[in-house]
C-alpha cells in the first residue's frame, strides 16, 4: 500500500457524459420536467461510479424516486414562501412581506444545505462504506442567521468569516465511516486573500484573476484534514495560476465554439483537473475504515439545492 495509489481519478469521458446529458434533456423535456429527478440520479450515478480512489470506485445509491419525492416537497416549500410573500404584498403589507420573505429564504438556505448534505453523503459509498453528515440543523441555522446579519451590518466584510465558518461546519461534520474531516481555513486569512486578489485583478485588468482563483482553490483544498484513528492525512493542491488559465480558456472556447454542446467535455476536463491536482499527504489505512452511519433516505434538500442554485463545497 503505497501513497501513490491514494489519489482520486476520473474515468469517464466527454462523449459518454454528453450522451447521458442529451438523453436526460430529451426525457426531461418530453415529460415536461417530471423526469428531472431521474435525470439527476443518473448523472450522479455516472459521475460517482466513474470516480476512483485507491483502486475502488465510488457508488451513488440514490434513485430518481427518492429525488422526486424530495423535489415535490421542495417545490411546495418554495411555493409556500412565494405565496406568502405575494399575499402579504397585495394585502398592502409589502414591507412586512419582504421582511418575512427575506427571513424565510435566510432560514431555507441552511435547511437546504443540511438536508442536501445528509442525503448526498448517505447515498454515496466507497468500498461499501457510507459517507455521512452529522451536522445539526439548529446549529447551522444559528450560524447562518448570525453570519448573514453580521455580513449585512459590516457591509459584506464579515462575509469572509461567515464563508469560512460555514465551510468549517459543513466539512467538519462530514465523514466517510470512521474517517472524519475538518477544515482549518480562517476568516482573516480568507479576507486578506480576497482583498489582495480583488485589487491585483483590477490593476492587471483581469490577468491576475487566474492566480486569485489558484489561491482560492489552494485555500479550499489545503485546509482539509482527514483523521482516522488518531492519524492525520492532509489534502494538498498542486494547482498553478497558469494551469487554471489553461483550463478555463480552453473550456471557454470548447463551450462557445460548439454553442454549448461541448459543455460535457468541459465538465470532464474540469473534473480531471481537480482530481489530478489534489494530493493526499499521508496514508489512510484503507483496510480499516469502519461503517458508522445510519440509513438515511430523505431527499428533500437535494433538489431544492438544484432549484435554488446553491453550490456545495
Amino acid at each position: 500500500m503505497s501513497t501513490s495509489n491514494q489519489k482520486l481519478s476520473f474515468h469517464g469521458n466527454g462523449r459518454q457524459l454528453f450522451a447521458l446529458q442529451i438523453v436526460n434533456i430529451l426525457l426531461t423535456v418530453v415529460t415536461i420536467g417530471i423526469y428531472y429527478p431521474w435525470a439527476r440520479a443518473a448523472y450522479m450515478k455516472y459521475t460517482m461510479s466513474e470516480t476512483e480512489f485507491a483502486g475502488s470506485r465510488f457508488a451513488f445509491l440514490g434513485n430518481g424516486l427518492e429525488l422526486f419525492k424530495g423535489m415535490v416537497l421542495g417545490i411546495l416549500i418554495v411555493g409556500f414562501g412565494y405565496g406568502m410573500f405575494f399575499y402579504l404584498s397585495t394585502a398592502h403589507h409589502p414591507f412586512i412581506g419582504s421582511f418575512i420573505f427575506f427571513f424565510y429564504i435566510l432560514l431555507l438556505i441552511p435547511f437546504v444545505i443540511h438536508n442536501s448534505m445528509r442525503y448526498r453523503t448517505s447515498r454515496t459509498t466507497w468500498r461499501g462504506i457510507h459517507f455521512g453528515y452529522r451536522g445539526d440543523l439548529k446549529e447551522l441555522m444559528n450560524l447562518s442567521v448570525k453570519g448573514a446579519f453580521l455580513s449585512i451590518i459590516t457591509l459584506g466584510i464579515y462575509g469572509a468569516w461567515y464563508a469560512m465558518e460555514l465551510r468549517s461546519y459543513v466539512l467538519g461534520h462530514t465523514r466517510l465511516g470512521s474517517v472524519t474531516m475538518r477544515y482549518e481555513g480562517k476568516g482573516g486569512a480568507f479576507f486578506v486573500m480576497n482583498l489582495l486578489g480583488y485589487f491585483f485583478t483590477i490593476i492587471t485588468l483581469g490577468i491576475y484573476s487566474f492566480w486569485w482563483m489558484k489561491d482560492l482553490f489552494n485555500y479550499y483544498v489545503d485546509n482539509i484534514v482527514l483523521e482516522q484513528d488518531g492519524k492525520e492525512v492532509r489534502l494538498k493542491s498542486t494547482v498553478t495560476g497558469g494551469a487554471f488559465f489553461g483550463l478555463l480558456i480552453i473550456n471557454f472556447f470548447i463551450v462557445i465554439l460548439t454553442f454549448g454542446l461541448g459543455a460535457s467535455w468541459a465538465v470532464v476536463r474540469t473534473l480531471n483537473f481537480v482530481f489530478e491536482n489534489v494530493e493526499f499527504v499521508g496514508e489512510l489505512d484503507l483496510e480499516n475504515i469502519q461503517q458508522t452511519e445510519d440509513n438515511y433516505k430523505n431527499a428533500t434538500g437535494e433538489d431544492l439545492a438544484g432549484i435554488l442554485d446553491i453550490g456545495m463545497v
Binding site: 447521458l20 475502488s56 461499501g128 462504506i129 465511516g177 454549448g260
Partner: protein, 366 residues
Amino acid sequence: MQESNLFEGQLFDGKSSESKKVAVLVYSDRLVIHHQKEDGTTETQSWETNKLKDYQKLAKDFIQIQYGDFPLQTLEVKSETFAETFKPPVSGFQKVIHQVVHGGIITILAITFVVFAFLGFAYFYALPWLAEKSVVFVPKEYEVKMGESIYQSYIQSEEIDTAKTELANNFLKQIDFQTDYPLQVTVVKSSIKNAFALPGGHVVVYTELLDNMKSYEELAGLLGHEVGHVKQRHTTRNIFRSFSGYLLISIFLGDFSGVSATVLDNANQLHQLSYSRELESEADRTGFQTLKHNHIDAKGMISLFENLQKGNEAGNVVPEFLSTHPMTENRMIFIKDMIKKEKPAHIEHYFLEGLFKQMTVPKADY
C-alpha cells in the same frame, strides 16, 4: 465444453473497508461467494440474482455489485468474461440508458437531432401558443395597476402639454373604442415623432407627431391603433411570450454555460421582433375596425403612415427583420386593401374637427 463459471473478486462486507479476496461462482439464479479466512475456514454467501440492490458496469472488465439490506455488501469483479457471463437483473430502461451512454456515435447524433427538433418546435410553435392562451388568466385590474405604475415612473422625466392633453382626452371621449379599460391620453412635449400605449389604458402621444397631423381622422386612426394595443393586451402577451421563450432556452443551456446568456438574450429578442411586427399589424387592424365602428374616414390612417414616413426617412433604412414595425408601405397597402374590401361608411365629425384644430398649431420655431 463447459465454460468456467469461477471468478476472482473483492468483497467489501459493509462493516469496514477491508477488502476480502473471494471466489465467485456464477449460477443461473444466484452468485455463490467463498471467502477463505486467515485461519483456514471458509465463509460462504449466496446472493440471489433478483435480490441484488445495484449493478454497475464500470468498464468492459470491471463490474461492481451491491447486495443486501443496509449496510450493503459490495462485490468487485475485474473480468471481461464475468461481465459477459453474468446477466444482471437491471431494468430494461436502465439497459437502454447504459446502451446510449456507452453506445455509438450514430445513436448520440440521432438523439441530439431529435432533441433539437423537439425544442425547435416547442420554441417556435408550442410555447408561444401556450403563452398566448395563458394571458387570459391575467386579470384586467392587474394590467391597469401595472400600466399605472409604469406610467407614473415614466412621466416623472417628461414635460406634459396640459392644454393639449385636456383637449385630447375630450377628443378621446367622443370615440367609442368598445372597451372598458380606463383610457387616458397624455400629450408629451418632444421632438420625436412617436406615440405608445401602456397596458391598462394609458396612451402617450408626442407633440412632434400631433403637430404634424393634417386631419382629425389621423389622430383618430392613431388613437385607434394605440388603443388596439391596449384592447388586445399586447404588452402582456409580449411579456409572456418573451419570457417563455427565454425560459426554454435558458433551461436547455442553463446548466452548461452562463456566458451564453447574452447570446440567447439577443437571439430571443430577434425572434420577438417578428412577433412585435405581428402585434403592430394586429393593432392596425383593430384601429381600422374602431374607425369603421365610429364612422370615421379610415383614410386618416393612411395619412398617419405618410406622416410617420416623412419624419423617418433615415429610419427607413432599417431592414424589416430588425424592425419592430412592419414597413410603412406595407401598412399603407394593408389599410387601402381593408378600405376596398369593407367599404366603411363615414361621416363628418365637426366636434372632433373642432377639438383637433385647437390642439394642433402650425409648426413654430423652437
